[in-house]
Symmetry: C3
Subunit: 666 residues, 3 copies
């Protein structure tokens, strides 16, 4: 089953409306260019009103109606929220929070991921749904469950405790293997048998960090088991239709790389704050999600305007939704969906914007912008399946995220995503596109690989990075990387144990800064303020490119470069503010003689976003103007402006909050 058009539409929850409204929806959808809707995500109670009782009347009618109207169906198995009858019958499906409270029915997604009864119930439900609709001609995608771990990050029930003990036994086999990995000789923590182990629930003080880390792995794995149970149930009755669940971008609790292996398509739900002009976190998350499978992805949810769950929910101003939507396409999206089609009249999300507002009218600004975008996308089908173009990769690892942000570190200010953002934004402002890579991936295709606060890294993975450099690669490592192995156990003998040789340095001491403190480094004749972190670095083969200029670190190396095999490894031992970071990265890129793959589009303006996608025959340059003024972009070659259908030779003008998609022939 091949995707022919850019998917466009949204979550559709017609359980809330009468049939007349639904029939009117078909008309409005077509008018708005809708090609794809997600249904039945929260449909459990509707299709299984009681234990053992199924009623598909409404869903049958709906799927046929959608198909008749040529709207492709993303069909959910409907397992996201257990119905009240199940909870009453088996309260043990409810999760327990860190205060020991069971989280009850009345909102959504109130299940324990290890609950045998929940697992059995979703398997049964999924089999029934897949059996009925597994060959429905309108169904183009299976949507499994919804936003796993969105609300329940951890459960502390007895089922989870037993599950964790079993998971640990399967991982470590011998209890003394666990004792060693967890360093339990410290604080008299050692275990004689698996049943002695608790979940990392309330304790008098700092918890065993490796216990916490394993619990995070366990939570991700248990939820992945849910996905696998559901997927298997689908496959028993339905072949050839891609299967996925909607991820959440920069969401901590599921290991995206591990999950992506189980999915046919990756997608994510994006909700940047409309307060922002350039939501780099959204751009980063799109790049990350695309990178999970290195193939186009879907925006499975976004808002037409305001959401309802912030304290203050700003609306998107005219043009903002369109511009951000195209930024997703530019980063590799082959579909753009909204939550939701028609704004709810009641319930907890009634003030979340939708494609059709509470007014039900089509003359609203929101519906008009939705329809404009839908009709534009219909003209851009050639983009479907094209590849994103990048020759820089940033290493990303959920396990490192978990380990880095456990407590009792030198500084709680070193937050993984914030650090990722700082390098990502500096690169984007220099119009450099990036992929994200898991530490186990082959890196040979990349011109530059960046290791950002990779505190935890296995010896095996650090060796892969060394081999990449040895073979001629360029690596940029920043501070507090390569400190511990997969068990959160320090590499002894001098920091950063895993990268010391590769970097040709030794770090003797960490020197974190308070948020109110700054230091200074000098680089290329200019001084830059530092923040968050400094270090005592000794050269062990590397050369110093920049030096500290304050405190007792004066004159010590701050940025270093080490030749290693055919390549070179750079080290940045401190954090800079965003303008300093941009300048220093630019200098480092020049130092590395970095060159992009394509440079058809020329501008120095950091408020302009430039990316490329490519097919076998063409290169598509995306230029989005986030500045307040009209801009003029220089073209190196003649191109076709896809939105205006005009040919541009040397320059293209783009209004504020507008964009151009420029097609260059290969």
């Amino acid at each position: 089953m091949r995707q022919e058009v850019i998917y466009y539409g949204g979550d559709y929850n017609p359980e809330q409306w009468d049939r007349q409204t639904i029939i009117e929806d078909m008309h409005l959808m077509k008018q708005a260019g809708v090609t794809y809707v997600s249904v039945n995500i929260f449909g459990w109670k509707n299709i299984q009103p009681a234990a053992g009782v199924y009623d598909f009347t409404e869903l049958d009618w709906l799927l046929d109606l959608l198909h008749e109207n040529d709207i492709a169906i993303d069909l959910a198995n409907g397992t996201a929220s257990p119905p009240a009858w199940l909870v009453k019958q088996s309260p043990e499906v409810l999760p327990i929070d860190s205060f020991g409270r069971r989280l009850v029915h009345g909102s959504r997604q109130h299940y324990c991921p290890t609950s045998p009864i929940y697992r059995q119930a979703i398997q049964e439900l999924t089999e029934n749904v897949a059996q009925r609709y597994g060959s429905h001609p309108g169904v183009v995608m299976w949507h499994i469950n919804n936003e796993y771990t969105c609300h329940v990050h951890q459960c502390f029930c007895d089922q989870c405790r037993q599950g964790f003990q079993a998971w640990l036994e399967e991982k470590y086999h011998q209890i003394d293997q666990l004792n060693q990995a967890w360093a339990t000789t410290f604080w008299s923590q050692a275990y004689n048998d698996w049943q002695e182990i608790f979940l990392p629930e309330a304790m008098p003080t700092f918890k065993n960090p490796c216990q916490e880390l394993d619990y995070k792995r366990f939570v991700s794995d248990m939820n992945l088991e849910l996905f696998q149970i559901e997927k298997k149930a689908v496959l028993r009755h339905s072949q050839g239709i891609p299967i996925m669940t909607n991820l959440m971008g920069l969401h901590e609790h599921v290991d995206g790389f591990k999950w992506a292996q189980e999915m046919d398509v990756v997608s994510w739900n994006t909700y940047p704050n409309p307060r922002e002009t350039l939501p780099y976190a959204q751009f980063l998350a799109s790049d990350l999600t695309r990178s999970l499978k290195k193939q186009p992805f879907l925006i499975m949810e976004q808002a037409t305007s305001a959401v309802n769950w912030r304290k203050i929910n700003k609306r998107k101003v005219p043009g903002q939704m369109r511009l951000w939507s195209y930024e997703s396409i530019a980063h590799g999206a082959d579909g753009l969906m909204f939550f939701q089609w028609r704004q709810s009249q009641g319930g907890a999300e009634k003030f979340h914007s939708a494609m059709v507002t509470h007014s039900g009218k089509t003359d609203t600004r929101i519906y008009q912008e939705v329809a404009q975008l839908g009709n534009e996308l219909a003209q851009l089908s050639e983009l479907v399946g094209t590849d994103f173009v990048a020759n820089v990769a940033i290493v990303f690892d959920w396990e490192n995220w978990w380990a880095l942000e456990l407590d009792a570190k030198p500084s709680a200010e070193v937050r993984y995503i914030r650090q990722m953002m700082s390098i990502y934004q500096a690169l984007r402002e220099a119009h450099i596109s990036v992929d994200f890579v898991h530490p186990t991936e082959d890196l040979s295709a990349y011109r530059l690989v960046i290791v950002q606060n990779l505190y935890l890294v296995s010896l095996e993975n650090s060796q892969k990075l060394a081999q990449y450099v040895e073979a001629g690669g360029t690596l940029l490592v920043n501070f507090f990387s390569g400190i511990v192995n997969e068990n959160d156990s320090v590499y002894l003998g001098g920091y950063p144990g895993a990268f010391k040789e590769l970097l040709g340095i030794e770090v003797e001491e960490f020197s974190p800064l308070y948020p109110t403190e700054t230091g200074r480094i000098s680089y290329g004749g200019k001084q830059y303020p530092t923040m968050i972190w400094e270090e005592v670095v000794h050269l062990r083969g590397a050369t110093a490119l920049a030096k500290y200029e304050s405190t007792d670190l004066v004159g010590m190396p701050a940025i270093t470069c080490n030749k290693y095999g055919q390549g070179q490894a750079y080290y940045l031992s401190t954090q800079l503010d965003s303008s300093g970071y941009r300048e220093v990265i630019s200098q480092l890129l020049a130092e590395m003689a970095y060159e992009p793959i394509y440079d058809f589009l020329q501008t120095e303006d950091p408020a302009v976003s430039i990316t490329y996608r490519e097919s076998a025959t063409a290169i598509y340059g995306f230029v989005l103007n986030y500045s307040q003024d009209k801009i003029e972009i220089q073209l190196k070659e003649e191109a076709l402006d896809l939105l205006s259908a005009e040919v541009r030779s040397s320059t293209v003008e783009i209004n504020a909050s507008d964009l151009a998609i420029l097609k260059f022939n290969k």
Copy 2:
């Protein structure tokens, strides 16, 4: 039983003292002008020392002593705090908090409002107290329980869960009625039977809003049932004595209008922070409490100086207690009581000020001010029973308060009381007195009715408001009013659904502002900064009085006026800062050609408070000077200055922190 004098006195807890001190108290009370004391509020353990055992020795002696000394008795039934023996015998009387903890004996008011055992125990106790003292000649008031829901806003015990299920069944009759009201098709929440329903306790994410709203109604009702049980027990043994409980002014958890119907007299406990100069929240709460029955009320508790429960407890400076006391009289109080007569030596409230301080002396500033006020009030008996004068009404509805402040709204910055305060202060600074009205009340007597953030309004109540305007009334509605019905279900078809026709507008989008953001409107040739909220407003018959001057809203209507029947309906779509609000309200009042009932007293100074009370034959003008300087007020007619007993012809001078009560003949 008719009240002859302004009640003056306080809570009296002589259980803490020996008989000699109590006898000395009688002397001190009379010296201080005390005419009324509240006794036995926390007397349960004293009069019922164990199950089935009663001992009235001390209370008999005390009531006789008070009566002999001509001090009227406000007799509590003593049910506020269950004794330890009851808790030990029946721990299920204890409430459960949102963390699942039972709240134990050791402070006060530790009961679950639905507990059958607590209900039975307070009925038995009340019957015993009422039987013994129901005809005591000194008793002029029954004081039921104390500050219901002051500390325990919600209980999450199984008794409450069952009670809630029963309450819902009585309200909705059919489970599908509840499913529809609660919009349970969303998020697969629908119920098959009442026993599936939980209290709105801990859940993974946003709770069903109508479930939360119904639970708030339930809590208010369950506590009102307590009051009714106790009142009924009193009436079985005591007739002709008014029955009340002490309310708490701007307290969220009991529906004052509903409760007031069950009470003979309304009263409240007022504790503004002495840091404030003009405690508008106290003035507002007095107006609101008086409005619950539209009759004079009592200040049942206030502090002579500092309280003990803030982080920092400032004392009242010389004159402050007297001035604020008279402000209560000016707003319709017929009594002023303090917590408490004699400052406690031990326990949790020992640093709460009292009429007699820890020193036990009469030469203290506090006792001297108490005695001065008591002796002044003795000369003002003609005020008892006089009516408060107002021709402006503000709609107030506890159910709207609850609904408006549930989460998942466009902005959490729209807080009901803060919004009430902004209009109330603007009116008070213009020397305009207000009543508060419940949406179901007859409004025909009012010259102007204000609808402030009435997010939730039933269709029936919105029609009452339309009829008021149609018949010639003037209405001022502000933003985010008329959005949902009594089930928190949005009126579809365009905002504000309940008031769209009446106002002649349609709101397309809400545009909340961050606290750090401001916008601008222009009105009458002047610009004003906006905050918190703006909107996209379209005229549908109304005319624009003011326009937006910033962002993409430039030129759109900000304040509108619509002729409707014989009257007119104004709409204010944004929030102004306090000085802007004062000016805009003044302009709008001029636009409406608003005129007060009386204008005997003339001043432009917003730091001067002016109100009127009236009897059949006289009008009493109250002028309180909150400025730092002596002021001069112009009189339109000759008047008698009650406190000085002098006649004033054209002007009256009032010192800083002083006041005049000016009697004009009708």
Copy 3:
């Protein structure tokens, strides 16, 4: 057993390392001047791997190895952290927190202090350890348990509830004695029997303050019972070796004075933030800990550089560790130990600095500084056992700390330690040394006694203070002292009831200030800003030295002096900022004609710390330079500079962050 050298070393947890590393440690320790290590603190699981099973193989080997290497052993009984097998077997050893959660195995010190099973287990373990090593020639100290109440400040289990009831019965004998002490007639709280009493767990509002106070006494006592059980078990098998546990300085939950009576030596663990230049809280805590027994103490733990448990853990810069270490010696320490010898590879404290870093190398700055200090201390053995010199005492009382910081006070800004710090710093900046005294101690040796916010004081103890003044002593009392007795019951008749006569004043009202507010007083022709607290003070025999200059207090007494018997009692009714406090204290000291015991060392610089220790034949002056510049100190007599071994006649120069120890002959 007499201590011959300054103890120097650290916690040693070799369970984490192999034998080869341990043998290498012996070499490194000797090189670093280590003379003393603490072992087996968290050794329970190692020596008792299962119920009834003991294995001393490794500990035998280790103690012999240490002894062979002349390293004295501080041997812990190892009871600090119950092993997992005990928790599994008897989960009731786990404490319950204020949310009702049991705190589980996985961090450390997870025991309920009243648990009979824990008590029996630690007795058995201690007997086994003491039997085996009670006569080991290397053992010079018994280290009982570890940092009692460090993490578990309170436990709310049923065992504790029953224990509390029993403790109360033993204290009060008759329930009505308790009712009177707790003032339970207020709020109907009175008890008929002990079993009705709860722990001060979650309640609807403010808890009975005397119940809270007694619970704090109970918690300190229950933990002290643990110490006594363990100590008794040691003494059954080991005589003549001092027994102690490590205290925590300014730690609220154990009553240091009461505990010190049970210990042979006092010690504490000090972890000031390296951000600070002059960590007065450390200096104060050293003075307090020394004062518990009025004899030299040990620093049982400090960090060589960063800790790991703050949000941001700064390193100690070069010289900082040495300077702060000598400050401890200067205040009476006879030993300096670090946590820990070798930095952990895994577990929760792996980023806590150590004497040997993760690098394992000796060329690190940290190891070099450690070794320098160790080798210097080896030359200073004559200081061991010398007395600290002070003639000023500040009254310190844990029970007052507990009572003062309960809620429902006039101001939550009056915090005991912060207030202590303000007077302490003012005295230290004037180079005045202080002892701390318990209110029951003999004060006759002191030239000046200071009573700082002694809110709670028994009548007996207040009379002791009066007798001290009567006999010629000088007393300085500050505000909110002498207010309640040992039951938190107010002394009636005028504040401060316990000191009114002695001070010759009466306080009519408290007037707390908000943090943003200041007042003013005038003293000696100069004005000073006030903060936190003011009062309405009346003279009743005293004379006013300073007056208020703001608000309605203008002209009222602010600082007073009263002649009482042969002495004089000063009263300071407000709080000053730190520079004002320094000046006012200096003026008051001049007013009192205060003179120090020794004044060999002359400087006005508040950034220089000066203290004295003395033996029978010599006086040792310590001068530590915390300023950024070299200083010059005037000597009144010739002295030997111990660190340089040079004789100084009239002046001594000291570099920034350096010190001199000057020996004057008697």
